[in-house]
Amino acid sequence: METKTSSSLTLNEEKDLRESLKRCSQETVDAAIAYRKYGEYEPVPTIVVGIIERYLEPEVRDKIKDCTEETRLYEDFGIDSLTMVETVMLVEETLNISIPNEDLRELRTVGDVKTFIDCKIRGIPVPRKPRRIPVEEVAAAMPHQDPFLFLREVTLSENEAEASYRISGSEFFLEGHFKDDPVFPGSLMLEALGQLAVFYLVKSDHAGLEGNVDHKKVLANSCDGIRFHRICRPDDTLDMKIKVKRIRAPLATFEGSISCNGERVAIAEEITLAFAFEE
């Protein structure tokens, strides 16, 4: 990434910039020149919104005035992916930055674009958006499998992961836990949280993980501060969440919680796993 905050803008560069922005509002052009001349961050959102506006069809152009951070570029403004590339390219050229292709796919709302550009020019990392990982990908990444995998779709964020597990009632252990009275075992709730933590270690790009964690080499180390608040039965859905407390190889510690229909089910203040990287 190139960042440019110096006040160098040659006459020719200014001419090219004005030419490239000729279909943008005067406000946008002025903001762009102020940014390039004096490295001021304040006008950047104006520039970004002004460039998005330039690529909108006249009949939707008015919508830009009422747009919020959540306004979606594709669905609400009707721009297609190539137009999105055109938009980003003009932003790149105007702000003198480069945006990698893989980052483009993440930009879906006006807010995404503003945040992304803001982080880029300030040279700070862009917060990662949660990723939804489908069950097939989860199953492929895990050392566990049915009938002992308690994860389905997982949502992976920067410092946490969430997953849900619906108790079907046909789980083999419910036959005996308890006889004629199926209750999901508390020990397996801890197991499920542990599995979510394993998945986080394998898939996350957390800064504390300098290599790829070998999924065959993650083992339970300790659990502390465990409390159960209610029991869960078939047809209940366990909403699980783990949050990183610290990761320092070879140990990773998480805080875990489970709820069901918004009610607190279980809490583990610390779940610690031991892990090793792939060789």
Binding site: R23, Y55, E57, P58, I79, D80, L82, T83, V85, E86, M89, E92, E93, S98
Partner: protein, 419 residues
Amino acid sequence: MRRVVVSGIGFVTSIGNDQPTVLANLRNLRHGIELFPDFASEKIPVKVVGTIKDFDTSSYDAEDWSYPSEYRLKQELLRSLSPHGLYAYCALMQAIEDAALTEDEISDVSTGLYTASGGSMSMIYRHLDLMNRKGVLRCPPKGIIASVAGTLNFNLVAHFKIRGSSSGFVSACSSSGHALGFAFNEIATGRQQRVLVVGAEDCNVESILPFAGMRLLSLSRDPDRASIPFDKNRNGFVGTGGAAAMILEDEECALLRGVDPYARFKGWGQASDGYHVAISHPEGEGLRVAMEQALKFSEVSRADIDYVNAHATSTLTGDLSEILALKEVFHNGRYRPAISSTKALTGHGISLASIMEAGFSVLTIKREFMPGSAGIEILEPEADGLNIIRETQERVAKTVMSNSSGFGGSNVSLIFEKI
């Protein structure tokens, strides 16, 4: 075999951007050739072009273009078009309206779209220049789809939501003849009920001037005496661009929809010279075979041809080889169809030429006249024995042949007849 008819046509040509204007200019032999401002420089020896009126696509920036107000294109679409993409869109809109096709009929698996163009030299040049100046990742993202051969079908298939067969044809000056021919095959064999066909070319410095290097362009400064096919003193062709569109349709299907077709597309033939990359065969061998094939597959006798819209572009060797081919096919004057080249009026439209002239041919049939071959002062002596008409004749042409020949010696002959 299913019968095929022409149920709609559309034009953006040097002699008019709508059917009534084109018809009037064809009948009255008014040409569309002018001194071209972009050729004003003294360094450029070529001076005239068959210009497209009421369109301004001279800017490299598509959003600066102007075009007749009856059309309305989204900026997003414009940015992925080259000048000839805009012409093609407008011609196709006319043809669709003319054939009274609904959006549902167009976006149906039984409807295809074939296109012909050589791509846009000016857009390719512009985009590569930007790539070189601004860097590879700052190339306009729509640069490719707006410029390379294929730009017409990429854009039009997506825009009109075509779901049937689609393809682009590149065989130089016979391209749109091939597009029509293969569209005919799709319908005749029942694979499609209708195919929209459009041929188009840019009309600017980059699309026309490179032909000067081959010494193929007329250097005449007089718009009235530049494109003079079959004249003894012809000295090269006059470039033009624009677009022509045609809706080909299964006859039964068209009649069920209640349209009144222009003509029946009887059949077509093609053959290649196997001779030279750019010069036509001296005896017109490939074109002769193409005409024979067209007659054979259309089940039409040479005696039945009333009018031939010749390819004749006003070059020395090209016109001569077509004259010799026509003499062979029509048995040295034993059969005497009226012959003319409408390129005297329009100039030569490269990929667009064949479908533009096919459009003129079906107008000829429907409106019952035969346009004369304008601009002939002294007839090429070799043409003696052929019935080259110099004035428009107000009589019925029941069966019409339209010829096209392109680089590499590709030749197409199309046959239309009155319904």
